[in-house]
Structures are given as C-alpha cells and as structure tokens.
C-alpha cells in the first residue's frame, strides 16, 4: 500500500439524493471533504478532495444520516507517493445510514504487451 498524498472525488448523484455534509472515513476517522463544489441533490454533481499525506488503511464514503443516497457514478483521482496519478471509476451503488462505500484502490500494476 503506497502513501496517499491526496485524492479528489467526483460524485454523480441519482434519485434519491442526499442532504447534508458529505463525509468520508479514513482509518476510522470521519472527515468532511475540502475544496468542495456542487451538491448531492438528485442529478447534481459533487466534487471535493483531501490532502491525506498518510497511508489509507481504509478509505470510505459515508452514507447519509437517514434515508438512501443513490450514487450513479463515483470517480476518484489518487495521487500516491512514488506512483503516477491514477483514477478509478465506481459504478452505481446505493448507500444508507448503515453503509459506507469503499473508495480505496491500490495503484494499478504495471503491464506489458506480449
């Protein structure tokens, strides 16, 4: 697991949307995103990020305090130490007050054509 310098997130919300602060959970600590823009209402796009500078043993997007939140698409851009930046796109998933979405992915392994 590489050291995560920072990451940015882009959330496309479906129906239902979510009201309230968008929080993520890193190593069991709940923290709000920084440099946020947009929203998480139905059809809205939320963008935010965080400068971590540590190892993300766990990294998860926290579900709403109540009701449900449909995420149409979640794109995460990671910047890790000693690795080129990479992005991961997560497909549709619904969160509620009992769930959080795992948004950590290790950098892709190098490949070659043969």
């Amino acid at each position: 697991m590489p050291k995560l310098n920072q990451f940015k997130i882009r959330i496309e919300t479906g129906d239902p949307g979510m009201e309230g602060l968008v929080l993520f959970n890193i190593n069991s600590h709940q923290i709000p995103f920084e440099n946020v823009s947009g929203g998480t209402g139905t059809g809205e796009v939320f963008e935010g990020g965080f400068e971590v500078n540590s190892f993300a043993h766990s990294l998860a997007l926290i579900g709403p305090k109540k009701d449900e939140w449909l995420l149409r698409k979640v794109t995460v851009d990671y910047e890790c130490e000693n690795a080129p930046p990479y992005s991961v796109e997560f497909g549709e998933v619904k969160l509620d007050e009992t769930t959080e979405l795992d948004i950590w992915k290790d950098p892709p392994l190098p490949t070659f054509d043969c």
Binding site: G20, L21, L23, N25, I26, N27, H29, Q30, I31, P32, E34, F50, E51, V52, N53, S54, S58, A60, I62, G63, K65, L71, K73, V74, V88, E89, F90, G91, E92, V93, L95, E97, T98, T99, E100, L101, D102, K105, L109, P110, T111, F112, D113, C114
Partner: protein, 264 residues
C-alpha cells in the same frame, strides 16, 4: 494539510485544543469534534457509535484493448507484485463462464492451449479463467516476466489462431453445477477451513460462486494478516480442492475489484 497531525490532534486533547489546532475545523459553526464524531450528537455522551458496513461498488474497467483491430489477438501481461505469477489478459474468450486450474504438465493433456504452455520450460502451473491465463513459473528467483511472457503470448496466439477447442472437451462437459460447487466449498469451510483458522481468530466466508469460480472473504484474525496470502495458497486452497476438485479460480474478496488477482 498534514493528515497525521490532524489525527494526532484528535487523540491528544480536549475539543478546544482540536478546534484551535486542527485545520479540519473550518469555522466556529462547524467545530472539529462535531465533524469527526457523529455530527448529530454532542460530544461526551456515552452513546454507542453508529456501526456502518463497508460495501463495494463495481469498478468500471477501462478499455484494455483498442477496438481498432478486433481480428488481431491482443495479449497484455501483468506480473504480480511478488513476481511469482503473471496474468495474461486476452482480447477474446478462452473458457467462457468458467475457470480451470492445471497444476501439472499431465493435467494439461488433451487441452491444446495448456499443452502448448506446459511445453515451455519454466511454466509451473496454469489457471485459465474466462479470457485470462495466470501462470506461475518454476524459477522463483527470476522476476522479469518479459522473456517468458513473450513465449507465453506466442503460445496463446498460436493456439487461438489454430482454431478448435482450447480446453479438453471432457473438462467442459464434466463441469459441476454452481450449486454443487457452493455446497462442496461451504462444507470445506465448515468442516476443515474455519476450524483450522479459528485458533488464530480467523473466519472464512464464501461470498460468491460463478460457474466453478469462487470468491471468499477472510475475516477476524485473517483480515490484514501478513500470512494470509500464504495461508490461502497453501492451506485453504488445498482444502477447497480436496472437497471440490473441479473448483477453478479462487478469489479473495479484497483483491477482487477487477477480478484479476486469483489465488490458486
């Protein structure tokens, strides 16, 4: 912003200290303690924290191969981080819906694709899973897969271009049902695997069966254990194959995001 400093601050003192020093606390309206605990409840209450379940969403895969020449056989190799095995992704199906493990040269008899692969000197075992081939090599001191990868790529390409069956017909015809695989693997978990790992506080659960490919999850003391890889390969894997000899790829749920890192 220094995340480590933030976390240290969270543990080090009172809410006032946190609010004063933590960069997360942006305004007086949103003090840090209300953000890092449960925003609905004031601090210093003895309510149990909300326990949330971590779920995973499907990961959209990028187009691995350019669609400009679908006739051409394209193969991309991805060595594992430990270097002991290499995954070869092919732009066409090899064993649709199923997987099969070939542990020895003899087990490859009758399967044109794997017969070709085992004719290469350094190939130790082969796992075919849908459109991928995972190979382990005999010489564990070599980490550069490019020379052998080129030979493996050529062998796969030759087998595909030759046409006909890639895998022995008997293997495909005798493939067990998903229900039979599920029943057998669950039996292995209940009777042999979990009693074995229970002493270490571990627990294995069967997450998914697709064809004869299974996905398991390691919990309890197994989770995060540095020996989990070895445990899987040497112990659990053996138990599964003893109970269900036709089981193919065995994925650990934590490595299953792209379905590309099977344990076998």
């Amino acid at each position: 912003m220094n995340f480590i400093k933030n976390i240290k601050n969270m543990f080090s003192g009172s809410g006032g200290e946190l609010e004063e020093t933590s960069p997360v606390a942006g305004t007086e309206d949103s003090p840090i303690e209300s953000l890092v605990t449960n925003p609905e409840h004031p601090p210093n209450k003895t309510e149990a924290p909300v326990i949330r379940r971590v779920i995973r969403a499907p990961v959209a895969s990028n187009d691995l191969f350019p669609p400009d020449d679908p006739e051409k056989v394209l193969i991309r190799a991805q060595p594992s981080t430990t270097g002991d095995q290499c995954l070869f992704m092919v732009n066409r199906p090899l064993l649709p819906g199923y997987s099969w493990w070939f542990p020895t040269f003899e087990s490859a008899a009758g399967s044109p694709l794997t017969e070709r692969l085992f004719s290469l000197d350094d190939v130790e075992s082969v796992l075919i899973h849908e459109a991928t081939v995972t190979v382990t090599r005999k010489d564990k001191t070599i980490f550069d897969w490019k020379p052998l990868g080129a030979e493996i790529g050529a062998a796969i390409r030759e087998a595909l271009e030759e046409g006909g069956d890639l895998i022995a017909e008997t293997i495909v015809n005798e493939m067990p049902s998903e229900e039979a695989v599920r029943h057998g693997i669950q039996k292995a978990i209940d009777e042999e695997v979990n009693p074995g790992v229970a002493g270490h506080g571990g627990r294995i659960t069967l997450e998914k069966v697709k064809g004869n490919t299974i996905t398991i999850q390691m919990g309890g003391g197994c989770q995060g254990c540095s020996a989990a890889d070895v445990t899987l390969k040497q112990g659990i894997h053996g138990s599964f194959r003893k109970f269900v000899p036709q089981v193919g790829a065995i994925f650990d749920e934590t490595d299953h995001t792209a379905g590309l890192n099977p344990y076998f």
